[in-house]
């Protein structure tokens, strides 16, 4: 069977769960593919490994393809498994009373996973949409892990863009945790971006996709099957399939976070063209280079494989 090396930008993130689950369920094998999964600290490291040629496919956020298109690196996504980005703008428990809307963030310290990351762009987009200047809040890189939680709890940052399971952990601890924007839900996502917004996706160099159509199809098949499996099983069943080192000690929290996240997973792996446009808009606002580059957004994704996979 052909082998594909899959680089994943933080397998622990629930947003990437379908990728791991597919392996656990044997979906790749079933599709006739050996997948070699390599975990990275973040999406950009995973992407860099693909550009360097040490991995074939990235499982990561779609928005990188847009950013890279501006840098003359042609990447193409071929299956989307998150239809919402899952980014949540949370207010620090210490500031719950003082910050009630995005407008209140002006002049505050807001944590993002890293400056220049998707979380950063998301914040800037929200700020501009609220009528503020894009740099009206000071951005602090805090990662997505314990650092972010510690900083939030101690009030060292006033708000942060977070992902699950961190959000759920905070919600469990602080019942009245204020959330300013929650793109784990369809409602907020549509309200924010005007449609579904693609999160996690499989993408690769365009040249790879064109020369490895068979493998790309197999991956898409495996993913679409996994998505169908997810939506036909309970969170408990899903959790039981996940490798124990990813679930960790605290099963209750995991389950809660998973339950919060399930609606976020796509049902068919298809890209919503409106969503792709939204990504371009977000990044054009955040990064002048992207705006200058006049990216043709339709070059960065294809629904060809997902369509076939759904027909099966």
């Amino acid at each position: 069977a052909p082998t594909v090396t899959l680089a994943i930008g933080g397998a622990g993130c629930l947003c990437y769960l379908p990728t791991v689950l597919a392996k656990q369920l044997g979906m790749y094998k079933q599709a006739g593919l050996d997948v070699n999964m390599v975990n990275f600290k973040g999406g950009s490291q995973a992407l860099t490994a693909v550009i360097g040629g040490s991995a074939d496919v990235v499982s990561g956020y779609f928005d990188h393809t847009v950013e890279l298109a501006a840098k003359h690196q042609k990447l193409e996504s071929f299956v989307i498994y998150d239809r919402f980005p899952g980014l949540v703008l949370v207010v620090s428990p210490k500031e719950t009373d003082k910050i009630t809307s995005i407008k209140d963030l002006a002049g505050k310290h807001v944590g993002v996973s890293a400056p220049g990351s998707s979380t950063d762009f998301f914040l800037k987009y929200l700020l501009t949409r609220a009528g503020l200047k894009r740099d009206s809040a000071a951005v602090i890189g805090v990662g997505l892990g314990g650092t972010a939680i510690a900083a939030m709890e101690q009030g060292r940052i006033d708000a942060a863009v977070m992902l699950d399971p961190a959000v759920t952990i905070l919600q469990n601890k602080y019942k009245n945790l204020r959330i300013l924007s929650d793109t784990r839900s369809e409602k907020d996502t549509v309200a924010t971006f005007g449609g579904n917004y693609p999160g996690g996706a499989f993408y690769a160099r365009a040249s790879w996709v064109n020369s490895h159509k068979k493998e790309a199809q197999m991956m898409t098949d495996a993913m679409v099957n996994t998505l169908k499996w997810i939506h036909s099983h309970t969170p408990e069943q899903i959790m039981a399939k996940m490798p124990p080192e990813m679930v960790g000690k605290n099963k209750k929290t995991y389950l809660a976070a998973l339950t919060n996240t399930i609606p976020m997973y796509s049902k068919d792996g298809m890209m919503d063209p409106k969503g792709a446009e939204a990504v371009l808009k977000v990044f054009s606002e955040g990064d002048p280079e992207v705006a200058k580059a006049h990216v043709n957004i339709t070059d960065t994704y294809t629904n060809e494989f997902a369509k076939k996979a759904n027909k099966m």
């Binding site: 680089a7 993130c13 975990n39 990275f40 360097g52 960790g248 605290n250 995991y254």
Partner: protein, 264 residues
């Protein structure tokens, strides 16, 4: 050190461990230090960590990851130390060459290795070698600077004598510089063993498919602090074991040194 002393020493060492674990237990289960739940979130509890370690070893799932990490650590330690020895001796013996490259080596030592991880992936792929490269960049500099200094410290009279005995540069290296730099080298090896492991783990942490760093990152991603700490303790235990091996070699190689007079 006699038998009695050795027994006492081990008792004291275990005593320290017991004390630390107790303090940890108290901090994470009582309100003496702070909110135990908060503390447990960041530090886990001794019981959880022990349980995690137990599970790993009982199911045997740890061995593969541990083996990967140790392999990377030992390779980066050996390659790094060897390269540092060779280059260190070479530079120390060719002071002009050394002077020319000196600023570059010092500058290179200030490179944040974490940032270089993508480049290592580019060059060495996703397997163990990119981690070995990261570990190498830590080990190399620690050993290198000590070797250079160790060579400089060689006794001037012994050196003159050796040269008068007709030694050429190679022989000087083998019979004078190497033995006299040996205690410097060993000192740096004690430091660099730890850093080799750190390099391997950080390499895995930044991108890998197996190893303790991988386990730690998984655990961290899920806010499973017990897993993080369990991984670190397992690591530390193995480093202590390797270090003990180095100490044994050191004792063998340095038999010739005088012991301090008694009466201290």
């Amino acid at each position: 050190m006699n038998r009695m002393n050795r027994a006492l020493l081990i008792v004291l060492q275990v005593g320290v461990a017991v004390f630390l674990v107790l303090a940890w237990q108290i901090a994470t289960t009582t309100h003496l230090v702070g909110n135990p739940q908060d503390l447990a979130f960041f530090f886990s509890t001794p019981g959880d960590v022990a349980a995690q370690i137990w599970t790993w070893f009982a199911t045997g799932s740890i061995w593969y990851n541990l083996w990967i990490t140790l392999e990377e650590s030992i390779l980066s330690f050996l390659i790094g130390a060897f390269a540092a020895l060779v280059l260190g001796f070479w530079f120390a013996r060719k002071p002009r060459l050394g002077a020319v490259f000196d600023p570059y080596i010092k500058g290179a030592n200030a490179m944040p290795r974490v940032v270089l991880a993508p480049i290592f992936t580019l060059w060495f792929g996703l397997g163990i070698w990119s981690k070995v490269a990261l570990g190498f960049t830590l080990v190399f500099f620690i050993v290198f600077f000590n070797v250079v200094q160790g060579v400089r410290e060689a006794d001037k009279t012994i050196l003159s004598n050796a040269r008068m005995l007709g030694m050429n540069e190679r022989q000087l290296l083998r019979h004078v510089y190497l033995p006299s730099a040996l205690s410097w080298v060993f000192s740096s090896l004690h430091t660099s063993i730890g850093f080799a492991v750190v390099g391997a783990v950080v390499g895995e942490y930044l991108g890998s498919a197996a190893g303790l760093g991988y386990l730690i990152q998984q655990a961290e991603g899920m806010f499973d602090v017990a897993g993080v700490f369990a991984g670190m303790f397992v690591l530390a235990a193995f480093v202590i074991a390797i270090d003990y091996g180095v100490t044994l070699i050191e004792r063998r190689l340095l038999v010739w040194r005088p012991q301090l007079h008694g009466g201290s």
